[in-house]
Amino acid sequence: MNIEQEVLAILDDAMSLKGRALQFSRDTVLLGALPELDSMAVLAVVSGLEARLDLTIDDDDIDGAVFATVGTLVDFVQGRFPG
């Protein structure tokens, strides 16, 4: 599984970007740069990660640093997988 592609697909769904997020790079800024990323969308990203990647995200894992860029989000997700 390519985690970056999965994350981009989840971002795309969460913000209803109709494929635009699939063109994002690791450096794409998320929080504060995308008007579509409101608090409902953040929740949808977190739920999407859990549902589709079968991850458990802990109570205090959601913070600004994780949602800073595509790269920080991907690294966070990568870190949730064992090994």
Partner: protein, 228 residues
């Protein structure tokens, strides 16, 4: 979406009663004062009314947390009720968690000194109400919600469940947790039928979104004319 579905079902010959729960929509009361027991009672009232005023089999239909409520009402019936779920939440604990997550996400947006989710949980545990996006979640409601899930007890008299979801653009198979819940319901002897289709997540979007496929599929399943 719900109003459109109500009309579509009515056109297909169903009597449909749509209710606003205590503290929601046009109903009286404040959301923060509502309890799960109030909502169970509201649903019971509606069911009793339908039993008196409409012949035929009874269906309980719920969207998101409403599906959870429908399952909890069905669990308390002595006669058969069938269930129609739209995008059901799997457990009340998830509802509480998502509500608090939304609060944390709101803090991220505003760039304020962040309140941690665990701090909010401590406040609930201390009996305080947490407010997010204009809705107050009372400690009592959080507590009651946390004990309910779709599979937390046998749905004694329910034999049929139609479970419809908007899948993502890239994935229409049920996510792992949903698959597990479906398997549990089927193992308990219920005919649980899952359908996913593409469309906008209408329950969470700012603009009003319509997913005609969901409405059509719901009518097809309910009337037994799917693929006809």
């Amino acid at each position: 979406m719900v109003a459109l579905q109500v009309r579509a079902l009515a056109a297909a010959g169903f009597d449909v009663l749509q209710i606003d729960l205590f503290g929601c929509g046009d109903s009286s009361g404040d959301f923060a004062d509502a309890s799960w027991a109030d909502w169970l009672a509201d649903g019971q009232l509606a069911l009793d009314w339908l039993r008196k005023n409409s012949p035929g089999g009874l269906w309980l239909w719920g969207v998101r947390c409403g599906a959870l409520l429908a399952s909890d009402i069905a669990r308390r019936q002595v006669s058969e009720t069938s269930l129609l779920f739209w995008q059901p939440v799997l457990s009340g604990a998830n509802v509480v968690r998502d509500f608090l997550r939304l609060g944390v996400a709101g803090e991220l947006m505003s760039g304020h000194g962040k309140e941690k989710l665990s701090d909010m949980r401590s406040q609930l545990a201390a009996g305080r109400t947490i407010e997010v996006a204009g809705y107050g979640l009372s400690a009592a409601m959080a507590d009651q919600l946390s004990s309910v899930s779709l599979t937390c007890g046998p749905l004694y008299r329910s034999k049929r469940i139609f479970w419809l979801e908007i899948g993502s653009a890239t994935q229409l198979s049920p996510p792992p947790a949903t698959k597990a819940a479906l398997a549990q319901l089927q193992a308990a002897g219920m005919a649980a039928c899952y359908r996913a289709m593409q469309g906008a997540p209408f329950w969470q979007t700012g603009e009003i979104e319509v997913v005609p496929a969901l409405i059509d599929e719901t009518v097809a399943l309910m009337t037994g004319t799917e693929n006809a």
